[in-house]
């Protein structure tokens, strides 16, 4: 094999790309990974991880404010925002180094630069505008991710009109913040800044916040966020935004009319757009739809040697989905005996707000729309001993059970640490456990997990603590 000839080239070193490269190497392939920026992609550097580090600071802040309720005295409490950001960057940096180490350990060749397609089997890599090398491979996986979407006429990325990058590295806390979009990203930043005393307004086009979640979860979460001082404008849209030296002026259109409001800063969180441009995909005939690469269930594009995984291949835009697609696609390419396409009906969603939100499967509305005859389970954390001990008993776990088969069609949670509880339902669904098996499972006491057990039991009228 010549020096620049590989079994597999992966473009992009995020949670899709680097996982693909490692798995391919494990399966005996010679792998090159092309990354133009930092290993770990948005997730590690500008998304999941640094955001969770920031939210941890906010959570501790929230607990300290309530210290007296726990019998503790705290004085001279304050926020050093730049230190909060610094810690977040440190955590991200640590993980990014970890990825580099993992790739090295697995003998993946890391090529720094921007890759563009020369042909269906070759990639030209350039750095600072100059071509450095041309690589060829039997297979090429595109894992270039996605970036924040702009609204028409509003371009984020400035000092006052932010996307997630500016939001997580803001030099100072704003006094007021307009968040456009109430998906996971918008809600997490709203929670973060509201906790640190920022006056946060969230604008959502749909008639409810977190529109992908079950309506009961949306409504409950909205009330909780409002208690923490977040203001919501639903069925509303921002029609224009102007940045001045000291503020952002936004025109917000609601059912009741159009209002001009002034904020210190604004965060655009209206979804993402695939990084499918500037790869010369059109040159090799890869098909796109709304900027996402069109793939089959194994990740293959219309060009047999070209594959795509993660955000660039369409939603949901989640790191764990990208990583799983990576493994499934690489194993499929390798002809691995146990290769399986990912189960798209079983991708969990988590929002790390206060309270947290997590869900899997069908919402009540989706289950009914799909003509399922359902039974609903619900258990509030107020009935859970561990939640009371934590002093964090807001929220509930709702389960949607198929009345005929006992299949767990969906689970929807809001409350303490629910992002750490959802995996039980993901596992149960993956193993196709029904309500009977979950009902028979012993959950340790005292834990929050008992609430999910009780929720499933309650769907059959068998809950014990409510």
């Amino acid at each position: 094999m010549s020096e620049n000839k590989y079994n597999l080239i992966v473009i992009g070193g995020g949670p899709g790309g680097y996982v693909a490269a490692i798995r391919a190497s494990q399966l005996g392939m010679r792998v090159a990974l092309i990354e133009k920026d930092q290993l770990g992609g948005v997730c590690l550097n500008w998304g999941c991880i640094p955001a969770k580090a920031l939210l941890r600071s906010a959570e501790i802040h929230h607990l300290l404010k309530a210290a007296s309720a726990f019998g503790l005295r705290v004085s001279d409490m304050g926020v050093d925002w730049s230190a909060v950001v610094a810690r977040s960057r440190e955590v991200a940096g640590q993980l990014s180094k970890g990825v580099a180490h993992l790739l090295k350990k697995n003998k993946v060749e890391i090529i720094s630069g921007h890759g563009t397609f020369q042909s269906a089997n070759s990639i030209s890599v350039s750095r600072d505008g100059a071509e450095t090398v041309t690589l060829s491979a039997d297979h090429i996986i595109v894992a270039t991710g996605a970036r924040a979407r702009d609204l028409p006429g509003i371009t984020a990325g400035s000092d006052r009109i932010w996307n997630y990058r500016q939001a997580m590295t803001a030099t100072a806390l704003p006094s007021s913040l307009l968040v456009v979009g109430s998906g996971a990203i918008g809600i997490e930043f709203a929670s973060l800044f509201a906790e640190f005393g920022v006056a946060v307004s969230v604008v959502e086009m749909a008639d409810r916040i977190l529109p992908n979640e079950d309506t009961e979860v949306s409504a409950y979460a909205k009330a909780q966020f409002e208690k923490r001082g977040i203001r919501f404008l639903t069925e509303a849209k921002v029609t224009s935004m102007e940045e001045t030296a000291s503020s952002v002026e936004a025109v917000i259109e609601t059912n009741t009319g159009s209002n001009r409001e002034v904020f210190d800063c604004a965060l655009m969180a209206v979804g993402v757009v695939a990084n499918s441009d500037s790869l010369a995909l059109e040159k090799v005939g890869v098909e796109l739809k709304n900027s996402s690469i069109v793939i089959n269930k194994c990740g293959q594009t219309h060009v047999p040697s070209i594959w795509a995984i993660g955000d660039v291949a369409g939603g949901p835009w989640l790191a764990h989905k990208a990583s799983h697609e990576a493994v499934a696609t690489v194993e499929h390419i390798a002809g691995h005996s146990n290769a399986h396409p990912i189960n798209r009906a079983n991708i969990p969603g988590c929002t790390y707000s206060f309270p947290q939100i997590a869900s899997i499967g069908l919402t009540e509305q989706q289950a009914l729309a799909a003509n399922h005859k359902i039974r609903k389970g619900n258990f509030p954390f107020i009935g859970n001993g561990k939640a009371l001990a934590l002093g964090d008993a807001d929220g509930f776990i709702k389960t949607i059970i198929d009345d005929d088969t006992g299949e767990i069609l969906g689970a929807h949670m809001v409350g303490a640490e629910v992002t750490e509880l959802i995996h039980s339902f993901v596992l149960a669904r993956e193993l196709e456990a029904t309500e009977d098996e979950v009902g028979m499972t012993m959950f340790p006491h005292p834990t929050l997990s008992e609430a999910l057990h009780e929720s499933v039991l309650s769907a059959a009228g068998k809950a014990l603590h409510i």
Partner: protein, 429 residues
């Protein structure tokens, strides 16, 4: 109290049975079971048997429903005390004592339709739910299988490690619906391209496996010739006239079996089985007969080999009667284990179905080393003693396993058979 334990092993219910599947336990763990009551449904490749309890005692299963094990493998315990045996308990007798008793004691009842292991039970609230199963399936798949009446053991799992999951059951259910829909529309004709989709399962799968195995593991050679059966038919006509007296309308096949007995006596190695690298030549001639049976749909067919034992000691009439009742038992699903095992030679006829003069290359019925495939006779002008005569010629295809049988004995066998068919008086010898 001392708990005396009797071990119950997978019985050997037929000569050719090497393994069996516990299709169902007919008693519950912990039940006190009297000797002689129906104990379990045991399935082999071909037949399902209900076996009776050989002893009395408290029953505790060891092998769960659905599991396939070798004959002689421990299946269950019979205890004198109502508790599962432990290390301290004494053994009443050795496990190998029982299968022979079982073989003798049980009147084996067979069903053509395989009985499905009741894997669905595990989804219910009853006790034996957590027992391990060889058939890997999800709880949801089992529940759906029960609801949609889909037998899981007939499915190929698409989950990790071949686990049967919801989508497999749904696909099977859809294909079942699809099939009935297709069959319904077939009457109206034209419609779609697919007339019917038939699952490769159950009997079909067994046939497929055996055919492929036979072709892969043997050195099959097929030969063809025609025997003049004009005289044989004349003799048969005499017997047919006596139908009322004889109690049967003696068939050409009965003559053929007689002729095969004659030829086997000349060349005994044609009456043999290859078993574990040994060629076992048999004294008794157990005639395997390929019997067509109805398939699962009007488009499908089924095939089973019935066995007429000890034809060497039978006359034409006995052979004919035995053959007719064997075919009826197999087709009605009433075949006993003996009816379906122990063949030493196979007869696979397409006579009366295929066109006159048809030549075939029949696939050996393993472990038999030889098979005769007669087909529909054809009228031909033949030169006999210098004259042209109208003769009825029987086309014969003979397949032999060259691993066991070389060309010379095979040719001698065919010559002997031809001789017997053309000079039917030899059949009286």
């Amino acid at each position: 109290m001392a708990n005396t334990v009797t071990e119950y092993v997978m019985p050997k219910l037929a000569m050719a049975m090497n393994e069996g599947t516990v299709a169902d336990w007919l008693v519950q763990d912990g039940d006190y079971v009297e000797a002689g009551i129906p104990l379990a449904a045991i399935e082999t490749e071909k037949v399902a048997y209900d076996v009776e309890s050989p002893v009395s005692g408290y029953f505790y299963s060891v092998v769960p429903v659905g599991q396939t094990v070798d004959c002689g493998t421990l299946l269950a315990h019979f205890c004198t005390e109502p508790r599962r045996p432990d290390a301290a308990d004494t053994s009443a007798n050795s496990s190998t004592d029982l299968p022979a008793d079982t073989l003798g004691a049980n009147e084996a009842r067979s069903k053509r339709d395989p009985v499905a292991p009741s894997v669905v039970d595990s989804a219910s609230d009853t006790a034996a739910t957590s027992e391990p199963k060889r058939l890997k399936s999800s709880p949801l798949a089992r529940k759906l299988g029960k609801q949609l009446n889909i037998q899981l053991d007939a499915l190929t799992g698409s989950g990790p490690g071949g686990r049967i999951v919801k989508r497999d059951v749904m696909a099977a259910s859809e294909s079942k619906t699809h099939q009935s829909a297709q069959l319904a529309t077939a009457a109206e004709a034209s419609g779609g391209d697919i007339l019917a989709t038939l699952p490769m399962s159950g009997l079909r799968k067994t046939i497929a496996n055996r055919m492929v195995q036979s072709l892969q593991n043997t050195a099959q050679v097929s030969c063809h010739w025609e025997s003049d059966i004009t005289r044989l038919l004349a003799q048969r006509a005499e017997l047919v006239e006596q139908e009322d007296l004889l109690g049967t309308r003696v068939s050409v096949n009965a003559f053929l079996i007689k002729a095969l007995v004659y030829a086997i006596r000349q060349v005994p190695i044609a009456n043999a089985n290859v078993v574990n690298d040994e060629i076992v030549i048999h004294r008794n001639i157990n005639m395997g007969m390929a019997i067509s049976i109805p398939g699962s749909t009007e488009y499908d067919s089924g095939l089973m080999v019935g066995v007429l034992h000890n034809v060497e000691s039978m006359g034409l009439v006995a052979i004919d009667k035995g053959m007719r009742s064997l075919i009826a038992r197999v087709r009605n699903g009433e075949a006993t284990s003996d009816d379906l095992s122990g063949s030493t030679f196979t007869l696979s006829s397409t006579a009366g179905i295929g066109p006159p003069g048809l030549k075939t290359t029949p696939v050996l019925n393993q472990p038999n080393v030889a098979l005769l495939g007669p087909s529909t006779p054809v009228e031909r002008p033949m030169i006999k003693d210098g004259d042209v005569k109208a003769c009825t010629m029987l086309p014969l295809s003979f397949t032999f396993d060259h691993r066991a049988l070389d060309g010379e004995p095979a040719a001698r066998f065919m010559a002997a058979l031809n001789n017997a068919l053309e000079k039917p008086s030899l059949l009286l010898t």
